[in-house]
């Protein structure tokens, strides 16, 4: 009895992992930032709160008309964006300013079929797979923290990437692990995620219901 057809205990558990330490991320903001990034060959999404994949792996999340968040691939080197930042330092175009995402924002990834239900204990935005498809971005409150949520699956596995104040990383981690316990979720390391990401799927083979 009770809640039916919303969840059953599944074999494939939930996972969450901190990959701040090694995985590259940066940001740019300013009234000229998106135009300048396009000039540098970055694929800037066409609308706000959308994300698209980048040529070198990783994704670009457009947070506003004046801000972009960029990540490298999971096995990317920490200096992935050094070239871009150097070009900025050289040209110093007006209206383009770097955002210190690698220090200011922590990055957690939650994967698995129960991720939306787990997140529903922390966040008031509907993150179910059909309602929050690949490439969606939500800037909202998660466990009382301001966070950016990006849907970017790893291989065929549903994945949500969370970016939030790095000073709150310990607190947030505890909230996620506590919320995931009900779904037999557990922390996993970066290597597991890299393996998932490496599983290439045909266009139609995405994950099922969240």
């Amino acid at each position: 009895m009770g809640v039916r057809r919303r969840q059953r205990p599944k074999r494939r558990a939930n996972s969450a992992s901190p990959i701040s330490a090694c995985c590259p991320r940066t940001g740019f903001k300013g009234w000229h930032a998106l135009a300048w990034l396009r000039e540098q060959g970055i694929a800037v999404p066409e609308a706000n709160n959308r994300a698209g994949s980048l040529a070198g792996g990783g994704f670009a999340a457009r947070l506003a008309d004046t801000e972009l968040l960029l990540t490298g691939s999971l096995d990317g080197a920490a200096d992935t964006f050094d070239g871009l930042l150097a070009a900025l330092g050289e040209a110093k175009p007006s209206g383009v300013y770097p955002v210190p995402r690698s220090d200011g924002s922590a990055w957690l990834t939650m994967t698995g079929r129960h991720a939306p239900s787990c997140m529903a204990k922390l966040c008031g935005v509907d993150l179910r797979s059909k309602k929050f498809p690949e490439g969606c971005v939500a800037q909202t409150s998660v466990a009382r923290l301001n966070a950016v949520v990006v849907r970017a699956d790893l291989g065929s596995v549903f994945a949500l990437h969370l970016f939030f104040d790095s000073a709150s990383a310990g607190y947030f981690w505890r909230c996620l692990v506590d919320a995931a316990a009900e779904y037999r979720g557990a922390p996993v390391g970066v290597l597991a995620l890299r393996r998932l990401a490496a599983e290439v799927t045909p266009a139609t083979g995405r994950t099922g219901d969240g």
Binding site: N48, N49, L63, A64, G124, A138, Q139, S141, A147
Partner: protein, 96 residues
């Protein structure tokens, strides 16, 4: 819990927003008299009709304007501040 449609983020629970007071153009502070200035700082209109208000989407610190009917609490419209204050021009009544 009420919903508010943020011009940047779409419909969200009102708990994601902070209220910023009525949209009142600041009078020219060098020419308005003391009473007029005090009225601007401390008093607000309390009519039972549509009011234009500042709201901030806290997770993004994005400020925008909402038109709300005070009696029914219905939010009629939300839009970016640039609609009132211009895209790049200075707000009027402000010294250069």
């Amino acid at each position: 819990m009420k919903m508010m449609t943020c011009p940047l983020n779409g419909p969200r629970n009102i708990s994601e927003f902070a209220y910023g007071g009525e949209v009142i153009p600041e009078p020219a502070s060098d020419t308005v008299d003391d009473a007029g200035w005090a009225s601007f700082v401390f008093l607000s209109d309390n009519s039972a009709g549509v009011v234009r208000e500042w709201w901030c989407h806290v997770p993004t610190s994005y400020w925008f304007i909402a038109e709300r009917h005070r009696r029914s609490n219905e939010i009629l419209r939300t839009y970016p501040a640039s609609e009132v204050f211009g895209a790049g021009a200075q707000a009027k009544d402000q010294p250069a």
